[in-house]
């Protein structure tokens, strides 16, 4: 037995030494490791001209109909790969950041992320400017309310894909008097209420319900709102935090009221006509998902073609009919009026000015990187119990 122990000890010692040697070696050279860091070189303008080669788009799931890509390929001859790999802004950012930091887009020509993430990526130098001269159809048809958003006032790098409202989604048969965010905290709905995992949707609405203007809220306001949410989590009021999947629970009646998105409500109504979007009394949060051309995109000219293509009203109408979110393109309502008046007259897809009077643009926590992370972490801690 002792020979074995000797052998084993020798092995152990050798491996420890080897490990230590490795550690020392790598620790010395690790500070410059590939992880982290960003390249803040000058922003380039995406090149137009003739598209050469295939087009690769990264978008959210179920955000386009079944025909558009095929038709685009047929019309332009550009082979298009459309992947639905964006499930969450943060997750997607984490996935692509290291490559983008080195100027590599991973083959993607267009990525679609929400306003605040678009701004974040642009500030880090991961996004190219767009050339308005190449995008005449886009800017001819862009609806006025989206022409100059706060995160990109000149639309120098973003083109809206779809827009939407975050507010209340309610089972009007089971919870008829939910009209404001604070109604979600009514004990009679205990355990049947959900909130969104997207912090920038949930927290500003909670703040607005307490009379705070989200666009002017301080870090402390955010943290206080998060505390209020935490209370309601601890006492069992909130059933869970969800992505889009709250609608399933609602269709079954497990959930009667939630913070949710306008497009979901439109689609869910088909499953259960009692599911309705309710505009909160204190206003909703307006957001859009934007097409961006990342640095290192292999075929920006093709990207321009695609953007122009989907901004033609009849093509856009096809998308809107399927996706049921707010279309950024003029003229779509008229086309759909003939085809499917129920969609054309839907306030959620073509909201009027008064419908969104109280609404505010989606906001991010104020302050520098550290303060923002503090708020994010506080919210995450509540979400992950």
């Amino acid at each position: 037995m002792s020979k074995r122990t000797l052998k084993r000890t020798r092995l152990l010692v050798l491996s420890v030494l080897a490990l230590a040697a490795c550690m020392a070696l790598v620790a010395c050279g690790s500070d410059s490791g590939g992880l982290g860091g960003s390249d803040n070189s000058d922003v380039t303008v995406a090149e137009g001209g003739n598209p050469n080669g295939p087009l690769k788009i990264a978008n959210w799931p179920l955000y386009i109909d079944n025909q558009t890509i095929k038709q685009f390929q047929q019309k332009t001859g550009i082979k298009t790969t459309y992947t639905e790999e964006v499930n969450d802004n943060n997750e997607f950012f984490g996935k692509v950041q290291p490559q983008l930091a080195q100027g590599d887009s991973g083959g993607r020509d267009i990525i679609v992320v929400t306003d605040w993430m678009a701004q974040k990526m642009y500030d880090l130098g991961y996004i190219q400017d767009i050339d308005h001269n190449e995008l005449t159809t886009v800017f001819d048809n862009l609806i006025p309310s989206l022409e100059s958003p706060s995160f990109d006032p000149d639309r120098s790098y973003s083109v809206p894909w779809q827009s939407g409202m975050t507010g209340l989604v309610v089972r009007t048969d089971l919870a008829p008097d939910v009209k404001s965010i604070n109604d979600l905290f009514d004990p009679k709905y205990k355990g049947k209420v959900t909130l969104l995992t997207e912090m920038r949707d949930t927290v500003p609405l909670v703040m607005a319900a307490d009379g705070i203007d989200p666009t002017e809220a301080t870090t402390q306001d955010w943290l206080d709102a998060i505390d209020k949410i935490k209370e309601n989590v601890d006492n069992g009021q909130i059933r869970r935090f969800t992505g889009n999947d709250y609608v399933q629970d609602m269709a079954k009646g497990d959930v009667v009221a939630a913070i949710g998105w306008s497009g979901d409500a439109v689609q869910a109504e088909a499953d259960n006509p009692n599911i309705k979007y309710v505009q909160p009394e204190q206003g909703c949060s307006l957001w859009s998902d934007n097409m961006l051309i990342p640095v290192g995109a292999p075929n920006p000219a093709a990207a321009y073609e695609f953007m122009n293509y989907v901004y033609e009203p009849k093509n856009q109408a096809q998308i809107t009919e399927y996706v049921n979110y707010v279309s950024p393109v003029k003229g779509v309502k008229e086309i759909l009026m003939k085809k499917d008046p129920s969609i054309a007259n839907n306030d959620l897809i073509f909201p009027s000015e008064e419908y969104t009077a109280n609404c505010f643009n989606q906001v991010s926590p104020p302050g520098d990187e550290a303060e923002q992370q503090e708020v994010e972490q506080a919210f995450q801690d509540v979400v992950t119990g």
Binding site: G33, L62, N66, E84, E85, N87, G106, G243, D271, N272
Partner: protein, 283 residues
């Protein structure tokens, strides 16, 4: 006392069958809902019976693409993991050498590591190294990695029950190590290797967590479902899942029949098996 024993025996089988039924309940639910005709996006309430989605299961391009990615991935994983794992198993069982204990440990530890840790560490590794493109390459690497250990276990148990005298007989008849391996060992452990490959294939198709971390822009079948879950899982997903299950069961039946045939042949003339391995190879 005999009656009591009979009931007892019946009881265990009964419980076993109950347990098996428990395992298959969700599969049943999935299959049933593949015949549902939802009015809207969400397939959670039974609305009405239709075979519509079975007539066009591949209508959604992204879903079909994801499925093909998963199948390709599982196929190559099965091949890679089986080769690496079989070699490992043979080395571990047959030979005594320095470092055997450590090798054993290295193989077992990945199985004892939570998927979230494996997935996350691989992601940081790939990002730091910046050699492999995040996507199919990294998925394949990750899948082979976590499957190898399982292959080793399956093949090893087959090897341990293996009668060495057959190999000695071949050696006595003048075959060198390689020929012996090719014509005697391999065919006889083939069932174990095949089951290991099957298991690797299954684990790869099923994997979500590790793929979620390392997929880059590739979308596998489970990842598609995860994304689609947010907006409403199309009925085609249920159809395809049921199809995958059905195809597997059929494939298994085919393998079982083949195995039974091969075992019968091998059982009749064991001495000849060493000289005529062709009979005992399950095709």
């Amino acid at each position: 006392m005999k009656a009591w024993r009979w009931i007892k025996e019946h009881m265990v089988l009964f419980i076993g069958l109950l347990a098996l039924a428990y395992m298959l309940i969700p599969i049943l639910v999935i299959a049933v809902f593949s015949f549902n005709d939802p009015t809207g996006r969400y397939n959670f309430e039974w609305v009405g019976f239709t075979t519509e989605y079975w007539t066009k299961p591949f209508a959604i391009t992204e879903l079909t693409d994801a499925l093909l990615v998963s199948i390709r991935l599982a196929f190559f994983t099965a091949i890679g993991a089986t080769i690496l794992g079989t070699l490992l198993a043979i080395g571990l069982v047959r030979y005594q050498f320095f470092g055997r204990r450590a090798a054993n440990l290295l193989i077992v530890i990945p199985m004892a590591t939570p998927e979230v840790v494996i997935g996350a560490s691989l992601l940081s590794f790939f990002l730091t190294l910046n050699v492999f493109q995040l996507g199919f390459q990294t998925l394949l690497i990750a899948h082979i990695m976590f499957s190898v250990s399982f292959v080793v276990i399956v093949v090893r148990s087959r090897l341990i029950g293996f009668d060495r005298r057959l190999e000695e007989a071949a050696a006595d008849l003048g075959a060198n190590a390689f020929t012996t391996f090719r014509k005697v060992t391999l065919p006889l452990i083939a069932p174990g290797v095949v089951s290991a490959a099957f298991l690797a294939f299954a684990l790869s198709i099923d994997d979500f967590v590790i793929s979620n971390f390392n997929s880059g822009s590739e979308v596998t079948f489970p990842l598609y479902i995860f994304g689609a879950n947010q907006r409403g899982i199309p009925v085609q997903v249920n159809v395809i899942a049921t199809m995958l299950f059905a195809v597997t069961v059929l494939a298994m039946l085919a393998v079982i029949i083949q195995q039974k045939r091969a075992e019968k042949a091998a059982a009749l003339r064991p001495e000849e098996a060493a000289n005529k391995p062709a009979i005992s190879i399950p095709v």
